[in-house]
């Protein structure tokens, strides 16, 4: 066996290495300066540099369907764009952490370090070409997040959230791992390319152990992206976690995990199991319904957004269903394009909405209610305007980014003849309008008597919100370049 690794392996790993190296700097500084916390801005800058350099390296070296580390990693368009989404949301999360009251502390450098560590885990997930490596990546990402959540300055809820996330996450990991074991046992390999070739024969012969393995693996992923009925941790953890961390979880974790799911479903062999198709379709449908319906009833702003993110997972699952069970050649790459585009859109919108929440949170442990935004349209017109754009985009109003995201997903569903899923999806997006518009109602249409609340400075968080609003409009109107870039990256054409 040739153990030598080519240069290409290191190039693929370069973003991760950069992240690791840069992330250690603030911690090291702290160690060498006698445990004195560096200025938060310095830490933020280092974090940003880490992410930026990783992003630069990713854009430079990723893509083009290359393998590395004995096929443990694959660098393709999917990985490239998922890395971009993950890294960008990481950068914005660091900005928000710098500002946010629950993450500002003497341990800020450690928090940034953990977030960067989590990013490394995510990059592993998106680059992984092997189920066990995916598992390692997921664990890296999750373990960092458990700690990161627990490190909030809030003392009760954040600990509870961290612990719940930890126990349930480990529980789900065990199940996931069991699934890997069964797949390993039945297919003889855990590497995606080999596995994908095995899927067809194994499903055709109705190998039950393999089916259980697939189910368990899907279940483990479903837990991470909060698909019903594995979503129950989501609102609790999103609420308890510091808002910047929530934003990070809601965007980056989801993006990374969905890429892993897509990799799992890159085979046409799944068509041999109709029940599997049906059950995943049902999960998608129920996820949309439960997420949207629960969000309607939710008075807590962050929980509402949490349920909304559950619903968005449901939409994304439509793409996954199409990828796995569509009946035309190359549907998986097509699904990759629309799912990634949706993830990009969703990440931008979600970052914006959580930035808005972060701006309104003034004290540690404050549970922001939806009603608290009353009258904001008058007192803070720019913020409210940006948030309104974000919310309309989440609701899927054209020509904002969210609309085109949904357009792509539902196009895919229709092309692959998943009509009822598409219909269910759009009907759910109508339901979602109800709660997305509620803050707008409160901001603009009610509470003219609301007092003027001083807003935290939070320059970087403002920047995040503002930037996301701008991006939503600009990328909505000019989504063509992004789409064509995505397309050429994923189809491997220039």
């Amino acid at each position: 066996m040739n153990h030598a690794l080519g240069i290409s392996s290191y190039l693929i790993a370069a973003p991760m290495l950069a992240l690791l190296a840069a992330s250690l700097v603030p911690v090291m500084l702290k160690v060498f300066s006698g445990n004195r916390e560096p200025h938060p801005f310095v830490t933020t800058a280092y974090g940003f540099i880490a992410v930026a350099s990783a992003l630069g390296l990713a854009i430079t070296f990723l893509g083009g369907s290359k393998f590395g580390f004995h096929k443990a990693l694959v660098s393709d368009g999917l990985a490239l764009w998922a890395s971009i989404i993950v890294l960008v949301s990481g950068a914005f999360s660091i900005f928000m952490m710098h500002d946010h009251v629950e993450t500002q502390s003497k341990l800020f450098s450690e928090k940034v370090f953990l977030l960067l560590g989590s990013l490394i885990g995510m990059l592993i997930v998106v680059l992984s070409n092997d189920l066990i490596v995916t598992f390692l990546g997921i664990e890296t990402m999750s373990l960092c997040l458990y700690v990161l959540i627990a490190m909030s300055r809030e003392t009760v809820l954040s600990k509870e959230a961290a612990f719940k996330y930890f126990v349930l996450g480990s529980f789900a990991s065990a199940i996931f791992l069991y699934g890997i074991a069964l797949i390993y046992g039945t297919a003889g390999t855990t590497q995606f390319p080999g596995l994908m070739e095995q899927v067809g024969p194994l499903l055709e012969s109705r190998n039950h152990l393999f089916l259980i393995g697939i189910i368990f693996v899907v279940l483990g992923f479903a837990f991470k992206v909060s698909v019903f009925p594995f979503h129950f941790w989501t609102p609790d953890v999103y609420q308890g976690a510091p808002t910047p961390v929530t934003a990070f979880m809601a965007t980056a974790v989801k993006a990374a995990t969905f890429v892993a799911i897509l990799r799992l479903f890159q085979s046409t062999g799944y068509q041999h199991s109709v029940p599997l198709k049906e059950v995943i379709s049902w999960l998608a449908a129920l996820t949309m319904l439960v997420g949207n319906a629960a969000a309607i009833m939710q008075p807590n702003f962050k929980r509402m957004l949490a349920y909304s993110s559950v619903a968005h997972s449901g939409y994304l699952m439509v793409g996954v269903v199409a990828a796995g069970f569509g009946d035309s050649q190359g549907v998986a790459s097509a699904a990759g394009i629309v799912v990634l585009f949706y993830l990009l859109a969703y990440s931008i919108m979600t970052l914006g909405s959580f930035a808005f929440v972060a701006l309104l949170e003034k004290s540690v442990g404050q549970a922001l209610q939806v009603d608290d935004v009353r009258g904001l349209g008058r007192t803070h017109p720019v913020l409210a305007g940006c948030m309104a754009i974000v919310l309309f985009s989440l609701a899927g109003v054209p020509p904002l980014l969210g609309f085109f995201g949904k357009f792509g997903l539902f196009s895919l569903a229709i092309e692959q003849n998943f009509y009822w899923l598409a219909i269910w999806g759009v009907l759910n997006s109508v339901v979602s309008v109800y709660y997305y518009l509620r803050p707008i109602v409160l901001m603009y249409m009610q509470g003219d008597d609301a007092p003027h609340v001083e807003m935290n400075k939070q320059i970087m968080t403002r920047f995040t919100l503002f930037g996301s609003a701008i991006l939503i409009i600009v990328m909505g109107l000019f989504s063509s370049p992004i789409l064509s870039a995505l397309k050429s990256a994923i189809l491997g054409r220039s």
């Binding site: 153990h3 690791l20 004995h70 990693l73 953990l114 560590g117 890296t140 039945t186 152990l209």
Partner: protein
């Protein structure tokens, strides 16, 4: 249908592991649970060895039954826990459903094993493998095919080490500044 030594070993160690696992579940005193868990791990190590996974068996003994269990016991000692009155979760319905769910899942599992048994490869053990050979092969794998995973493990441990320390220093942590 002769019962070979190998089979006997399986039934003994398997039964032991199952019993001790049940002990983990049923013992109301956490310390006893921990000890039962250690016993399970030891018996599993035996099973690994019986399947000629010598290295893994050794790691199981040292890392798991040794280090990890010590960590658990230490924490338990730190908390100074006694036998708990309410060791199990409340709710008859919920409890019933939990039993049913796990029962069904296991049942489905066993049925699946039964169904797929024909397709499973090599239902009899292969020839004896030398421990050094298998360990070497494992090492080749770890530093060859799985080198990236191996390195990633290292990174993970580093991050977790720093994270765990940081966690102990937060407000209310064991090593908090204030």
């Amino acid at each position: 249908m002769t019962l070979t030594a190998q089979d006997l070993l399986f039934y003994i160690l398997g039964g032991l592991s199952l019993a001790s696992a049940l002990g983990v579940l049923l013992m109301t005193n956490p310390i006893y649970s921990a000890l039962c868990l250690a016993l399970t791990m030891v018996s599993l190590a035996g099973l690994y060895a019986s399947m000629q996974a010598w290295f893994v068996a050794g790691v199981q003994l040292i890392v798991y039954a040794g280090a990890v269990m010590v960590l658990f016991v230490m924490v338990l000692m730190l908390f100074d826990l006694k036998s708990e009155i309410k060791a199990f979760s409340r709710g008859a319905v919920a409890g019933f459903m939990k039993l049913v769910a796990v029962g069904l899942m296991t049942g489905a599992f066993l049925a699946a094993i039964y169904n797929s048994a024909d397709t499973l490869l090599g239902t009899s053990l292969a020839a004896h493998v030398d421990g050094t050979v298998s360990t070497k092969a494992l090492a080749q794998l770890l530093f060859g095919k799985y080198v990236f995973a191996f390195e990633a493990m290292g990174v993970l441990l580093l991050i977790i080490a720093i994270g765990a320390v940081a966690l102990s220093r937060i407000e209310g942590g064991t090593h908090a500044d204030e």
